[in-house]
């Protein structure tokens, strides 16, 4: 029997090893984060046109995905990297994971999105991290909406806001950056101290903030304001339990109250598939792909010619002046800012 067991386990080991060594031609590998989604027929269209199979390598959240790309940059495991946003872009560029590519489709994209030097990374989509509020709560209590970040420290909003920890959450980080854009590097901590004194609730992750604490979600928590995405109200309509005429939530879009996140795609340095990678990047910026983005990932396409779905036109408030910070400043001070925030908020 022992012999039998030995044979079986050898078999399993060999199968695992042999399987992991086999190679396969004619595929393009796209490394991305696990929030990535796209319609099946859109990808099929690209595969047919170019006679190739596209494999997606989902590699955890946005930060983990970039880390994996960096750790494997000497022997890239994929050809294209999608999903690095402007809070992480400086790290990706500094580590040299991208090859630059001047895609012809870039002409349909507004210059304000093209912030990567030498087109090392190309913008694909953008979305705003905003405070969502529970409409029913505010109208039911005759409460005015806060018009600025500063107003959030007003005692009438005591204990009504839940935010995410910028050290563990991407919307949490984006919202902290908005407060830095508003109050400056040396003023943001005073604002956070006031917010803390006003009973702001801090949790680690978006899921808890939105589903456990926010009163506007199905979790029906105690706080009527949450740091979430500008598009969340539209998602509440699209994924409603019963058909809704109107979103139960909306976003606060006053000046510097939202932080704009742009996501980028880039060709991984050292790819053996440069031609096909270029085709795929062009495809991601084309109208076909861009029009598929909103209802799959709940972000806006950057291509000006892409038409938006009705839900986006009707239920989303777009900020006129979203906050943003220069890439270099984020790279230099990110750690310092987060550590400062942790000391004030958690100390």
């Amino acid at each position: 029997m022992n012999k039998k067991m030995r044979t079986i386990s050898f078999g399993i080991l060999f199968a695992l090893l042999a399987a992991s060594c086999a190679a396969e031609p004619q595929t393009l590998t796209v490394m991305t984060h696990d929030s990535f989604a796209v319609s099946e027929d859109v990808v099929a269209q690209f595969e047919e046109e170019h006679g190739i199979t596209v494999e997606f390598l989902l590699s955890g959240d946005a930060g983990s995905t970039l880390n994996r790309a960096i750790l494997s940059k000497d022997h890239p495991v994929a050809d294209v990297l999608y999903g690095v946003d402007n809070t992480f872009l400086s790290r990706a560029i500094e580590e040299g994971v991208y090859e630059s590519y001047n895609s012809p489709v870039l002409e349909n994209i507004s210059d304000r999105f093209k912030i990567a030097p030498d087109n090392l990374a190309l913008p694909v989509d953008y979305g705003d991290v905003c405070i969502n509020y529970d409409k029913a709560y505010f109208s039911g209590n005759d409460l005015d909406l806060p018009q600025s970040l500063e107003e959030l420290t007003d005692p009438v909003y005591e204990g009504l806001l839940v935010v995410e920890n910028p050290a563990t959450s991407s919307p949490g980080l984006a919202f902290m950056l908005a407060t830095i854009a508003e109050f400056g590097s040396d003023g943001y901590l005073d604002f956070w101290q006031d917010l803390r004194d006003n009973g702001v609730v801090v949790v680690n992750d978006w899921e808890t903030a939105y589903y456990t604490n926010f009163s506007g979600s199905s979790g029906q928590g105690p706080q009527p304001m949450v740091v979430s995405y500008g598009t969340s109200p539209a998602a509440e309509v699209v994924f409603a339990e019963e058909e809704l005429e109107e979103a139960p939530t909306a976003s606060l879009v006053g000046e510097n109250m939202c932080y704009r996140q742009t996501e980028f795609v880039g060709i991984l340095a050292g790819t053996a598939n440069r031609g096909m990678a270029e085709n795929f990047v062009d495809f991601m910026l084309s109208e076909t792909f861009q029009e598929d983005i909103p209802l799959n990932m709940f972000v806006f396409p950057v291509n000006e010619n892409a038409k938006l779905p009705d839900e986006f036109e009707e239920h989303i408030q777009v900020p006129e002046n979203p906050a943003s910070l220069p890439l270099d400043e984020i790279r230099e001070k990110r750690e310092e800012w987060i550590e400062g925030w942790r000391e004030v908020m958690l100390g």
């Binding site: 022992n2 396969e24 930060g63 494997s72």
Partner: protein, 571 residues
């Protein structure tokens, strides 16, 4: 000559699992360590935030010790209950108390929220009863939430491991002691306790290691004020890509967990009395005295409240939604099966959409593969190191290493080590059973090995003398005696794999998700339907898990029945 072959056989039995460990543990760890060293800044030593490190280490030890003690406080009496008494509904209760172990943290958080959250069933009840404006229970972001969740998760380990050993204990020894005039307490202290000690130590070790490296519970239920080593490793790695600091933290985590494991093992886990375990659970009896009945009722109630109610809250939430005012007044109850039905609709036409049935199939395939692998390796190791003093403790510690290692670090190691080899991603998911086996193997070892060691050599020698082949000895003597241990290990390796999220999330191909991955995908977006579908999916895992445990237990029962029938046929 013959003994030479025997020696070679024994060595092979040990070497194969060790090779597995080298490929799937040491190699990835070595890879990530060398990457870290290559990225070292010459003067990185200057900026090490020792404050953060010592705070995180201190809190990790503190919460792990506290959680483990609380788990034992609930688990040991519960194990006594299951190991001593027969009562109606016992099997059901045993299955229900095992299930929490598999639940992904996101789901546990949702379950607790459905039960004791600000708008959970309990708070709604109290707010309605006493006309309160604020929820009565508020545990969010508290140490209590962490402790309750750890007890919720891990009590089942104590029940299964210690309760199983108790059930198989030879009742004659205790009776003899009592006949010779020993008091009940003295009998317990001098006879039962020493016999049980190895299983208690095993349970304690496993619970402690799970608590020590806990990540999701701390992150989601403890909130930002509580940071353990694992949470800090995650922040330093993902947010700052500070691999040297993450490396120091990982090393500390491994060092502390292994040091404590070593001390616990030394403290008595190695003493195993060679006493024939009893297959037919002769020790089990019905409660007779009033005190026994009260104990049983109380204990069962506590277990139901702590371990079963959150599951029920979750299940209810998947087909019942409640609309409330902010003051907690219930305005409407909606009953619906829509969440279950809509699981089969691909509303977004997404390329990664898979019907829940397929996610379930993936989960079951991975779980079967990894539990078989874990049992095989566990068997080989236990047989190989039997009776080899000193060496066995080293092997035990080696096997425990993956449990004490940071999942974030090991994940990056897996990636660095295997992503190049698995150039075609098609074969990448084959690593999933390997990763799950790493986590399950310590479990299997801690359960199977004491069972195997407890079989006296004389029993096997007698069988051999009477002409039984080694295979017959294994089949007719060893296997029946350790069957319960095998079933327990199977249940755990199966459920570990079913519920595992961390490793799976970066090894699974998007079109081959497991159930926990599918749940996570639903909870990633706002919308009532996504939330409801996630709950429905969680209930499906619960049901599948309960059914698997039920069937595994049946297996044991049927075997025992068959043996009894055969026994009668012979006489």
């Amino acid at each position: 000559m013959k003994s030479d072959w025997k020696k070679i056989g024994r060595i092979t039995l040990v070497v194969i699992p060790l090779i597995f460990l080298i490929i799937f543990y040491f190699y990835p760890i070595w890879e990530i360590a060398s990457v870290t060293l290559r990225r070292l800044d010459p003067d990185w030593m200057k900026d090490i935030p020792w404050g953060i490190i010592s705070d995180a280490a201190g809190f990790t030890v503190f919460q792990a010790v506290l959680s483990t003690v609380l788990t034992l406080v609930l688990g040991l009496p519960a194990a006594y209950l299951f190991g001593t008494y027969r009562f109606r509904g016992k099997n059901l209760l045993k299955i229900l108390t095992t299930i929490p172990f598999i639940l992904p943290t996101v789901v546990v958080a949702a379950g607790f929220n459905a039960l004791i959250g600000p708008r959970g069933w309990l708070n709604l009840l109290f707010m309605g009863l006493f006309n309160l404006a604020q929820p009565l229970i508020n545990l969010q972001n508290s140490l209590a939430a962490i402790l309750i969740a750890h007890v919720f998760y891990n009590t089942s380990i104590v029940i299964r491991v210690v309760g199983g050993a108790l059930e198989q204990m030879d009742p004659n020894l205790e009776m003899a002691a009592r006949m010779l005039g020993a008091s009940r307490w003295k009998t317990f202290r001098n006879i039962s306790l020493p016999l049980l000690l190895p299983s208690v130590v095993s349970a304690l070790l496993l619970v402690f290691l799970f608590d020590f490296t806990s990540f999701g519970v701390i992150l989601m239920l403890g909130g930002p004020r509580f940071s353990t080593l694992e949470v800090e490793i995650y922040i330093q790695t993902v947010q700052f890509l500070n691999l040297p600091l993450a490396g120091i933290l990982s090393f500390l985590q491994l060092f502390f967990s292994m040091a404590i494991a070593f001390l616990v093992m030394r403290s008595g886990g190695q003493f195993i009395a060679p006493i024939v375990p009893h297959v037919k659970s002769e020790r089990l009896r019905s409660p007779e005295k009033p005190g026994e009945k009260i104990f049983l009722a109380l204990m069962a109630a506590v277990l139901i409240i702590l371990l079963v109610f959150p599951l029920l809250g979750l299940a209810l939430r998947s087909f019942l939604s409640v609309e409330t005012t902010r003051a907690g007044q219930v305005t409407a109850w909606n009953f619906t099966f829509d969440f279950y039905l809509s699981l089969f609709e691909n509303t977004r036409a997404s390329i990664f959409y898979v019907p829940p049935v397929e996610a379930l199939r993936n989960s079951l395939i991975f779980a079967s593969a990894s539990s078989i692998l874990a049992i095989l390796l566990g068997f080989m190791l236990s047989a190989g190191i039997r009776g080899v003093k000193r060496f066995d403790r080293i092997v035990e510690l080696l096997i425990l290493l993956p449990l004490g290692t940071s999942a974030v670090t090991l994940g990056l190691g897996f990636f660095s080590a295997f992503s190049r080899a698995a150039a075609s991603l098609r074969y990448y998911p084959l690593l999933i059973p390997a990763a799950h086996t790493l986590i399950a193997l310590p479990f299997v070892m801690r359960v199977i090995r004491p069972a195997m060691e407890s079989i006296p050599e004389s029993l096997k020698d007698a069988a051999k003398m009477l002409g039984a082949s080694p295979f017959e000895v294994w089949k007719y003597i060893e296997l029946p005696l350790i069957l319960r241990a095998v079933i327990t290990s199977l249940i755990y390796s199966f459920t570990i794999s079913l519920g595992e999220f961390g490793a799976t999330s970066f090894l699974a191909r998007p079109e081959l998700p497991t159930l926990p991955i599918a749940i996570f995908r639903y909870l990633n977006l706002p919308g009532g339907n996504n939330y409801g579908q996630a709950m429905a999916m969680a209930v499906i895992i619960l049901a599948v898990c309960a059914l698997s445990i039920f069937m595994l237990e049946r297996l044991q029962f049927r075997k025992a029945e068959n043996d009894r029938m055969n026994g009668h046929a012979h006489t």
